[in-house]
């Protein structure tokens, strides 16, 4: 029975994932030392060429010592991964505690920092009333307070439950470590490619665990993974982006070859059958099946070739996501070295985003933003590298008139996309911290439906990951109050052209969140742009050609936010 100790709110408020992260990193170095010692002994054994009883006795002893060193490698590996898991858990707990504190502040209820008890604080409201009429008028606000208090109690309970799980997992890992003797540890680790650790990342690992595991691998191990398991590495958040790019390029080439072959085989079958007389329903069904394979292959090829074309024509482009699962293919292209970037801007497009017909345009938008941001840095007399990303990494609603267009009316796709975006952003943080010791300034820029996706992601992302948020042409912010965002800077930005954008504030407050253009707490960027499609257009001046037009003041302001140099007035 592990959960014999029940954690208190006061206890978990003292948790600090930084200690676990540092300790996991120290343990990684220690593991490397033990592994080196084991390899040194193996090398010494190979160099020992004597024969006879003496030599045999010595060899037996060396074998035992190698085994014990291997056991130490296993211990270090186990402790390192347990600490990485605890670090990620403590990070999540700290983020949830902060969410609770923000919610209390936003709603006026009181959260006791020691006990976690929630006080409705209705006395404060009652004190404002001096007449019976005023008391009666307080009925609504008091009910709202009570609802907020109930909601906060659930949040506190949820946070304590998560903390208990994180704590008990750590205790279980340490207990398991104590239950294994050194020989068991050696056997456990002896069958893997990287001693003491699994060959491949486990499916349920967090980004911190993945980044910790990846940081123990040699370049040779990493190359082996890229060669033999590129589909596992290419989209795995927490893995270095330079290696993700190598893996995804390999997958891209392989998929293009596979689908070309499928298309050719289907076409040949249908062509061959075309010259034959009708041979019954069974053959007709077979023709139908081949036709389906052929059209599916053609569709996939259109997406894959768009990615390939964009990469070929864009300098310093890196394929950091490639995923054919889900409703439509997903991809993300970064313009520069993500692992060492000082400023990163993730551009999240919206409705109608399809890799096959939008990737080139959006990479061009990202390129415009990147060029502008670099100029802003030069003009400000500051140094630093800038990387922008065209992130087509989620299933966006279809464009007007297409099959799944109705999904634009709901936030289901935005919520699913927010999960993916959140993981991608946390992967950047974990990857930079583990692999280059960097902590780049990260801005998420969401357009249209992508702004709701970005808002929802920023409200649930771990603290310290997203520094700034820019929403433009937004149907809804994804939140009811800016305090729900987990932003390092604490200030989100919005841009909305004054007229002609029919998607702005289109969503209902309840589902899409409030209109960022009208919400208190948003900093308003310029709404001045020469771009957009004037005259008759179903979406009016909503497209990125309005907001990310290379000569617009809006783009200039976005570039200033991305580089952390924005000087305009804040609320």
């Amino acid at each position: 029975m592990i959960g014999v100790t029940v954690l208190s709110w006061g206890q978990i408020c003292q948790w600090n994932e930084g200690y676990f992260l540092d300790a996991a990193d120290d343990m990684r170095l220690l593991r490397a030392k033990a592994l080196q010692a084991q390899e040194d002994m193996e090398s010494a054994q190979r160099g020992f060429v004597s024969q006879g009883e003496t030599a045999s006795a010595i060899r037996r002893h060396v074998d035992r010592l190698i085994g014990r060193l291997s056991g130490r490698v296993q211990v270090c590996s186990d402790v390192m991964m347990a600490l990485a898991d605890a670090a990620d858990g403590a990070w999540s707990v700290r983020s949830k505690i902060s969410d609770c504190q923000q919610y209390a502040e936003q709603t006026g209820v009181v959260l006791d920092s020691h006990t976690g008890e929630v006080d409705e604080n209705t006395a404060e409201l009652a004190a404002q009333a001096s007449s019976e009429a005023e008391y009666r008028a307080l009925y609504g606000p008091i009910q709202a307070r009570r609802s907020a208090a109930a909601a906060l109690r659930s949040m506190v309970e949820e946070t304590l439950t998560l903390a208990q799980e994180v704590h008990d997992d750590l205790v279980t890992s340490l207990k398991k470590l104590g239950d294994l003797d050194p020989d068991d540890r050696r056997r456990q680790g002896s069958t893997t490619h990287s001693p003491g650790l699994p060959n491949l990342p486990k499916k349920d690992w967090s980004v911190t665990e993945t980044a910790t595991w990846w940081s123990t691998l040699s370049d040779k191990d990493k190359q082996w993974l890229v060669d033999y398991h590129p589909e596992v590495i290419g989209n795995r958040d927490g893995v270095e982006f330079a290696w993700r790019e190598k893996a995804n390029r390999k997958v891209l080439d392989r998929l293009i070859a596979d689908y070309e072959q499928k298309y050719a085989a289907g076409k040949k079958f249908i062509d061959d059958m075309g010259s034959q007389p009708y041979a019954g329903p069974a053959l007709a069904r077979e023709v139908q099946r081949h036709y389906q394979v052929m059209t599916d292959a053609a569709d996939k090829l259109s997406h894959l070739r768009a990615v390939q074309r964009t990469l070929n024509k864009t300098a310093d482009s890196h394929l950091v996501t490639l995923d054919l699962s889900g409703h439509s293919p997903k991809a993300a292209i970064a313009l520069g070295d993500m692992d060492k970037a000082d400023h990163i801007g993730i551009f999240v497009p919206g409705m109608g985003t399809r890799v096959n017909d939008k990737m080139e345009d959006y990479v061009l938008d990202a390129r415009n933003l990147s060029i502008k941001a670099k100029n802003v840095l030069i003009e400000a007399g500051e140094s630093g590298s800038v990387v922008t990303v065209a992130w087509l990494g989620y299933d966006a609603p279809a464009a007007l008139g297409e099959d799944n267009f109705y999904k634009v009316a709901g936030t289901g796709l935005a919520q699913a996309g927010a999960e993916r975006l959140k993981s991608f952003a946390e992967g950047i943080e974990a990857s930079q911290r583990h692999h280059s010791g960097h902590d780049g300034h990260l801005t998420v820029l969401g357009h249209s439906y992508g702004s709701t996706t970005s808002g929802l992601a920023t409200a649930t992302v771990k603290h310290g990951v997203v520094d700034d948020l820019v929403l433009f042409g937004s149907p809804g912010s994804g939140v009811q109050s800016v305090s729900e965002y987990n932003l390092t800077s604490g200030t989100p930005y919005v841009s909305a052209v004054p007229n002609g954008d029919i998607v702005q504030k289109l969503g209902t407050d309840h589902t899409f969140g409030k209109d960022p253009n009208l919400m208190p707490g948003f900093t308003h960027l310029s709404n001045d742009s020469p771009g957009g499609t004037p005259g008759w257009s179903l979406i009016g001046r909503h497209g990125t050609d309005t907001y990310m037009h290379e000569n617009s003041q809006i783009l200039e302001d976005m570039a200033a936010v991305v580089t952390g140099t924005y000087q305009g007035a804040k609320p």
Binding site: K33, D40, G47, T54, L65, L83, D168, V171, G178, D179
Partner: protein, 118 residues
């Protein structure tokens, strides 16, 4: 008369040097420090205090293996010094030295050392 000594000249000193180098590299740091540090990330909890306790046990294991490496290098040196006329004599000398120092397989497992408090 025992069989001929088959130990190649220079083999034992080379092995001894390698073992001592290994020991020095291996023993430069211990696992206790990181674990103790981790314990501060979750203060006043069972998990936090368990980090501290396991740190002590791992350090002891770490030390014990470092000592075994040192003793092994010493044993090789002594065997080299006491090299006599036959291989079986050298083997016997080596074995007696290894027996005299702590046997390699006699390692206290961590499970005996952590108080069962969960």
């Amino acid at each position: 008369m025992g069989e001929e000594v088959l130990v190649v000249d220079g083999d034992l000193p080379a092995l001894s040097r390698s073992v001592r180098n290994t020991r020095e590299n291996y023993d430069a740091r211990q696992p206790g420090d990181p674990l103790a540090k981790a314990g501060r990330g979750m203060p006043h909890t069972l998990g936090g205090s368990l980090c501290q306790r396991v740190a002590g046990v791992l350090d002891a294991e770490w030390d014990e293996l470092a000592t075994s490496l040192e003793d092994f290098a010493d044993a090789i040196d002594e065997a080299q010094d006491s090299m006599v006329t036959t291989d079986s004599d050298v083997a016997s000398a080596f074995s007696s030295i290894v027996e005299r120092v702590k046997p390699a397989q006699d390692v206290p497992a961590v499970r005996h050392s952590i108080p069962r408090m969960w």
